[in-house]
């Protein structure tokens, strides 16, 4: 009874997908927000730097160089929060510092020309731009960008924390929903695996909601109940047939027994008028009893075939059967009678071959095959019971003989009910015990176990093989 593993469950996969999607959504959102924020901050910084430069240019135009130097010095002395500072450097044509808080002309990025990201002493990042205010005067204005970085980090952290929360929420909600769905599906599965009436009733009561699973549950319940009713009615009918036939047959049998006893007593009575036991009548009465047994056996076989066919594919009631031991036990029973009938009977059994099955039924199957072989193989012939594993490791049982074999036209019909091979010589010994149902029952039992019983191609004799169905 294989159950769906946690990894294979569609519900686990659904939850995993939901988690993966929410992670992706959080990542994309985070990326979008940080990129946008970074661009806006960059634009602001550039705009501010340009404004600073314009402001200084205005001062130079309006009030002259001395005022500019003083103003730059003043601006540079202003304190500002970390990561937001404004810096200036004013140099003459020779590169000598005229004013500003910076002491050294910074290195611009190779492709940036006279503007771009620079690194201030002390590892503070900044955006800077340099312009020629006058032919002999060059101004560099810079604004620190450290604060932007801090803000970006904060935003990133918020997204990580928020994302984790979202993923957990999705996971937990998904898990709860999945468990609920999975338990509802499990009820349906259990009902299908083992359609007991109480399980079916449990299906019926679980229709609180009107969703797809509720619909599936309702339909499953209806189908299973119908199947269950069919199986029950089949069982009831066969039970009744058996009962209604066996009981009168038993009374008939009892009458025959009394008739036989009466005949025997008539014989033992010394009266001359009784005329002794009528041997012929007794023989006929005994034969009549034999007929009753035969009718009962036929009925039983037919019902057994019907039962096996109804049970096909149902693993209920199957347990591990040691085929090697089973074959040894049967061989033990048959060896003596094979010697008496002059058959060469052999057992070729590998050790420890097992399968899932119903031991009584498999014994019956093997015995039917053996009875069939001993019936058709003439004395002196060989009958072999084989138990082994095939190339794929599956169990295989075979009954092989070197008798006359089965004529091609009968290769399939022998497995049908009452489909015996008609031998032209007639059947003087009245080989009617099997009633032609032995192989039909054997095949029904094989199919009930998910196996196939077939006549293997042989050059001589017959070889019946019970094996796992090809493709199974």
């Amino acid at each position: 009874m294989q159950r769906v593993s946690l990894l294979d469950s569609i519900f686990t996969r659904l939850v995993a997908w939901a988690i993966a999607v929410s992670i992706a959504v959080v990542l994309v959102l985070g990326w979008l927000v940080t990129t946008k924020f970074e661009r806006m901050s960059q634009a602001t910084v550039r705009w501010n730097v340009d404004a600073d430069i314009r402001h200084m240019a205005d001062i130079l135009d309006a009030r002259g160089q001395t005022e500019l130097v003083a103003h730059i010095q003043e601006s540079a002395d202003l304190a500002s929060p970390p990561g937001t500072g404004t810096h200036f450097l004013l140099v003459d044509a020779q590169g000598r510092r005229l004013a500003g808080d910076m002491t050294q002309w910074p290195t611009f990025p190779a492709r940036g020309g006279q503007s771009g990201d620079i690194m201030l002493p002390g590892g503070r990042p900044a955006f800077a731009r340099a312009v020629d205010l006058a032919p002999d005067m060059r101004l560099l204005a810079a604004r620190e960008t450290g604060w932007t970085m801090i803000q970006l980090n904060q935003i990133g952290l918020s997204f990580v924390a928020g994302g984790l929360f979202v993923v957990m929420a999705v996971g937990v909600a998904g898990y709860i929903t999945a468990r609920r769905l999975s338990s509802r599906v499990r009820v349906i599965n259990a009902a299908f695996r083992d359609p007991e009436p109480d399980r079916l009733a449990a299906l019926d009561t679980r229709q609180a909601r009107m969703d797809e699973i509720a619909e599936l549950t309702r339909h499953s319940s209806a189908a299973l109940t119908r199947l269950d009713r069919l199986a029950r009615s089949q069982r009831d009918t066969t039970d009744q047939i058996a009962h209604e036939m066996r009981t009168p047959l038993m009374h008939l049998d009892n009458r025959l027994v009394r008739a036989i006893q009466a005949q025997e007593q008539a014989g033992s009575g010394s009266g001359a008028s009784s005329g002794g036991p009528d041997a012929e009548t007794i023989e006929r009465l005994i034969a009549a009893r034999g007929e009753i047994r035969h009718v009962v056996a036929t009925l039983e076989s037919l019902l057994d075939i019907a039962h096996s066919e109804a049970q096909r594919g149902n693993p209920q009631g199957l347990a591990e059967v040691d085929l090697s031991a089973l074959a040894a036990n049967i061989a033990d029973l048959y060896t003596a009678s094979a010697e008496d009938t002059g058959h060469d009977f052999r057992l070729e059994a590998e050790e420890g071959v097992t399968m899932q099955g119903d031991e009584i039924q498999i014994t019956r199957l093997v015995i039917n095959l053996l009875d069939n072989a001993f019936k058709y193989v003439p004395p002196g012939g060989r009958v072999t019971l084989i138990v082994k594993r095939d190339a794929k490791g599956h169990p295989l049982i075979a009954v092989a003989d070197n008798g006359p074999g089965v004529p091609p036209e009968y290769r399939e019909t022998i497995f049908e009910r009452f489909g015996r091979v008609q031998n032209g010589s007639g059947d003087p010994n009245g080989h009617s015990k099997g009633a032609g149902l032995g192989l039909a029952l054997a095949r029904a039992i094989a199919q009930r176990h998910g196996m196939e019983l077939r006549l293997a191609p042989t050059v001589r004799g017959a070889r019946f093989e019970l094996r796992v169905q090809a493709g199974a």
Partner: protein, 244 residues
Amino acid sequence: MTMMARGVERTGVRMAKNGLDILHIEDDSRTAADLQELMRATGDRVTWAPTGSEGLRQAGVGEFDVIILDRMLPDFDGLTVVRQLRDSGIGTPLLMLSALGRTIDRAEGLDAGADDYLAKPFEATELLARLRALHRRASGHTHSAVIIHGAFECHVKARTAFRAGKHLALSPKEFELFRYMIENAGDVVTREMLLRDVWKMGFDPQTNVVDVNIGRLRRKLEDGFATPALETIWGTGYRLLDGR
């Protein structure tokens, strides 16, 4: 006389009580009457209960050696009756007699708590043999180290058999057969019982395989002796004689 040590069992004294007290739960009056007649001949006493509830009541108040229960009753299912009996602590050996004779029906009956199962129509000897075997098993006399019946001795542990002191060379399966026969000595054992208990097969193969095996055992038991060892009960089974 070394064989008379502890654990030795004499089959002769075991069935001191004459006949069995039988409760027959069966709705079909003709079957009941037939059984009454049969049991009168064998000296057993039968109490008939026509319904499941009456049967349960009788089983509760009376002392019975065995119960014969029909599978299909008008009020209860036979399986229900067995379960109720077993649930209320009544462990009397029970044989289920039924018109349902398929292997599945047997398995159900035994699972429900029946000790044996016999399908209709049955041979009278088969029923009598089963009832006696059931009663014997329930009285728990089957675990002796040495079983003696007449001139026969069976040393269970050593797995050896003797007749009048002469060792019998039996194969393992023949020993099993002999042991089963001597455990039921004095009573008939049927083919079906042998198949079920010695070969562990729950059905009759419809061929003479059992007879052939018994025939071999008989030859070994009788080799060198003038008197027969086994009596064949026509059509059903065998009885181990005392071999004297």
